[in-house]
Amino acid sequence: MKPGTGTVGWIVLFILAALLPFLKPSSFMLDVGTNIMIWAMLAYGLNVMLGYTGLLNLSHAGFFGIGAYTVGILTLKAGWSFWLAWPAAALLCAALGYLLGLVAFRTREDAFSIFTLGVGVIIQLVINKWDKLTGGNDGLNGINPPTGLEALSKGLGLKLSSGFYWLALLALIITVIVVARARYSTFGRSLIAIRGGEDLARSAGIDVYAHKLRAMLLSTAIAGFAGGVYAVFVGFMGSAVTGPVTTFTTLLYLLVGGIGTMAGPLLGTGLLYSVAQSLKSLQDYQYIIFGPLLVLLVMFAPHGLVGLWERIRAGRKGGGHA
């Protein structure tokens, strides 16, 4: 509850992370780092809905895609600067998320998940089929790095991958601050109340609908924000990453890290992404191991890494709550 305690840890972490490129790691390492930060942002966005508001929005990756495509299309076809297109993408996603919420919040629980799943599938298919705008199945190719990024990296005697790494780090820091502020506020407490029980929250005088809408807006804006970084980082956009599979992957990260926690999304993404990368060389056996690993994590660390850590810290003192 006390945002103060963790703040120092976060600042140290971010400073260390920012210094990493100067150790000249391989560009693959930086690539992994950048990927982790981008997906972690997506997980933070999902956490706003699932972790704080208690609603599983399965169209989350769709907004990631909308953000990414917006940046791609605006920079490639309209000649916008990335630095302008990026916030525009986040705003567009916020607006669309809000609109979706207007209808989606008529449904509850599983119906809400399936409703948004439908929306997620539709977003992906529309992106895929709208050839003229999105390049359809060919995708958008040749999205350029943001202006200044290469110069910055070169100026420091580093490669472009460091530039992307810093861009993602910057975005992640913004995301973490935004999410932390939203969570530890009067507004955030109301979201937690909704998660704990909608009817109770309503009778306590909370305007449930309005709060959900705002949570959705924040969540989709973060997704679009992450998407914008992704688009310039990969330089290519295809519709495949905008579908429910990406949402489920993000959900995995979130769950493994710890739903509803501040550190969970980053920890979970970091761990699972690295594990998946190291399992890759096992080829045929990668999912033979990854699948059961997931099951074990869910069963033996139900509150994610953060929960596990807290249990360890509580130590022999015990007091496990049921």
Partner: protein, 266 residues
Amino acid sequence: MLDVQGLGIRFGGNQAVQDVTASIPAGQITAIIGPNGAGKSTFFNLISGFYQPTSGKIVFLGEDITPLKTHQVVARGIARTFQTTTIYRELSVLENAMIGHRVRTKAGLLDALLRTGREKRDDQESRAGAMRALERVGLATQANRPAGALTQEGQKRVGIAMALSSDPKLLLLDEPAAGMNPEETVNLMALIRELVAGGLTIALVEHKMSLVMGLADQILVLHHGQKISQGTPGEVSRDPAVIEAYLGSHAHGGQMGQSTQGADHA
């Protein structure tokens, strides 16, 4: 303070509340009694905007609040507790109360993100408002414990604190003494009296006649969704319709337990 006119609601073929016209006077305690399934909880649900009535009108302090949503009703000054204790068990007692105070604050998402003055003010106010409510129900010392760790009775108090922190003018309590032993019931009665003395108007549903008879200024009796009687405790307990439908032999005893014993020995 509150007037309902011709209030009714049906669930499918079941007319749970039917053409109820009544009023809850300010500064008093109104008890609503009636057999199980009479429509008492539903009546509360209608007033608090949880259900939309299929007929009739609810007027609060001169304003028609019938079409309002629950949170708007709470904002007008009507708070409630539930029949089965519902609170946020995993949150602290203080947080529960702070959630109840939300309706009195304005800070939204933008305030949270920008950490505006309003956010800071609202946050402090929530804390202060919640603490005030906790003091009123005698839970101030337990503020930082998880609500679920409290006893049944403590949890009931948390529920009341949550309602109180919304600064209500009218408080609706649905079976506040259920599951309490006589000693605890007496404490609760004292609490309710204190609240009323502090200027609050209270309406409550209860099956414990000792509490009802000991507290109520006015009693409203529902049966099959309809109002069958209204009056002071004395009047109501002499009303044959009420005795027939609800009180049975309790009409003459003050304490329900004693009369059961009496019936037993008869």
